[in-house]
Symmetry: none
DNA sequence: CTTGGTTACGTTACCCGTAAAAATT
DNA sequence: AATTTTTACGGGTAACGTAACCAAG
């Protein structure tokens, strides 16, 4: 027995004659007749009494009528809503903290504009957790700044990024145009926690150039670090992309590392077996378009 | 889209692989694969992500899972309960030969009138086979004239019946009003086969009263016996109920046994665990109504 | 004579299985 | 190499329409 039989039965019950039901259903009358007969044979009982040319529901028919109404309706609603659902695009997007702060918001805005009705879910965490979720297919794609380990993930280093040194108005560096590495010695820094991509890159730089500093702030929130710079005369090193959004009218000054040692890339990551939906392809296109980004504020250099 | 698709989908979601689902559903694996694909095409969206050989439910799949579970279950319950309902409108009725000949036809007519659309299946055989089929639940109920052995069967002796002696126009008894037992000595009888209830009762009577006779006809068909009486001057002993239908305008005469030694009862029989459907209850009611039956022809007595 | 249901029959489409290929572990 | 999904193809049957028939107003 199928939903089809019930639909036909309901139509017959509603329109009182098989001919009318057939017309409403856009099928032939004998087909309706046969469907009803199949139901009756399957249930071993008549659903309609045929007296003359009128049909009367039997007791069995009445029972079936009330119960199948809800069932068929519910089936139809499920079907409709799933078709609706299919039309909706969805993206479960992962990002690491820096990316999630400075890039993900505009990514989502762009996708929402490109695909009206899309549902984007954003998950921000460290690279390792992002990786795991990609492998478990709990995320469709992610944009990260750290290094990805799993060979089952496709990594596309698309977006250029760069760390900058940042200081506040009250800091001695504020008026400088050029700093030597030695100027950083024993300065107070506000830095991301160990394990973050930003911190790792900076630590590598310090190690290579043997630069002793003092980490007086540690936080995983960029805004916290910027506040430390603004109000506590700390220095910090972070992505210039973070500053575009965070500084607004705040009085800060930034310095670029002259040898591009602070350059890095944000990577688009997804499972190598991932079916690339239009949404994901659009995401990649958009990231290419974000590749370069000009610095809209004045800056100095570190040499 | 059909319930079938949802059932397959549910199995795959439950067993995590299409192969396992196919096995559980007793269908081939490609069939499962195809059904899932049809669903996905119909909804314009993936239900499972295929990463390697593992399947992961997509968001769409999760939605479909929760909603289709209830739906399919409800569908199944409706179907089952309707089939149940159908059984209640069906009666598999057994009867022994005498009953099947004279009583069952009117029983069926009555039930069909009372329950339009009912399906009555009639099975006529000897008491022993009827018993076996009742015990195997191949019959819902039966009406028999013989003795029932099994303690698992409920026996309700409802309908009064009586054997009568019957002779034809050319027989010497035809003009008699009263016969003595001795008159039966060495008469030619047409009788039912040994083992029939009628024959057993008559043999018991003969044994008690030491009546020697000659069995010159033996048949299991009442009409055959009556013909022997009509055309071959045989005597016979059978239920008076048989004669009501069989004699019509035939010239016969019947004699009742004065001491009611030929009285017996038809019994309604069913399994003691049988659920008494409306149909069976109506059957019992109807039999009560058949309890007594007046003899519409003239008759004599045996003393 | 019209309307509505059933029966009969042929066509189409779908369901499903087997076999083979592709992909992943 | 083994397991699982996908693809390809063919046979059987279920769905459906047409036509003819039947029954009731």
């Amino acid at each position: 027995m199928t939903i089809r039989h019930l639909k036909i039965f309901l139509a017959v019950a509603e329109y009182k004659t098989m001919s009318a039901a057939a017309e409403k259903l856009y099928i032939s009358q004998p087909t309706v007749s046969q469907a009803i007969r199949e139901l009756e044979e399957h249930y071993h009982g008549l659903l309609f009494e045929r007296l003359g040319k009128k049909l009367y529901l039997t007791e069995m028919g009445k029972i079936l009528l009330t119960r199948s109404r809800d069932l068929v309706q519910e089936f139809q609603r499920l079907d409709d809503s799933m078709v609706e659902q299919g039309k909706k695009m969805m993206l479960r997007l992962g990002s690491t903290l820096t990316v999630g702060t400075c890039l993900t918001p505009e990514i989502i805005l762009h996708l929402e504009e490109k695909f009206p009705g899309i549902e984007v879910r954003s998950y921000v965490s460290n690279t390792q957790e992002i990786e795991e979720k990609l492998l478990k297919s709990e995320l469709d794609a992610a944009v990260v700044e750290g290094e990805v380990q799993s060979p089952d993930l496709v990594v596309l280093p698309i977006v250029e990024d760069m760390l900058v040194l940042v200081c506040g108005q009250e800091h001695a560096f504020y008026t400088e145009k050029m700093l030597l590495k030695e100027a950083l010695y024993y300065q107070k820094f506000a830095m991301r926690e160990p394990g973050s991509g930003t911190r790792q890159l900076f630590e590598e730089y310090r190690k290579v150039h043997q630069i002793p500093i003092e980490i007086s702030w540690e936080a995983n929130c960029p805004r916290t670090l910027i506040n430390a710079v603004l109000y506590n005369k700390a220095l910090s090193v972070m992505s210039f992309r973070l500053l575009k959004h965070e500084i607004r009218h705040d009085k800060i000054r930034i310095f670029l590392e002259q040898n591009k040692e602070w350059n890095r890339k944000f990577k688009l990551v997804y499972h190598r077996n991932k079916y690339l939906t239009p949404v994901i392809r659009e995401l990649e296109m958009y990231l290419h378009q974000c590749k370069k980004m000009e610095l809209s504020v004045k800056y100095g250099w570190i040499r």
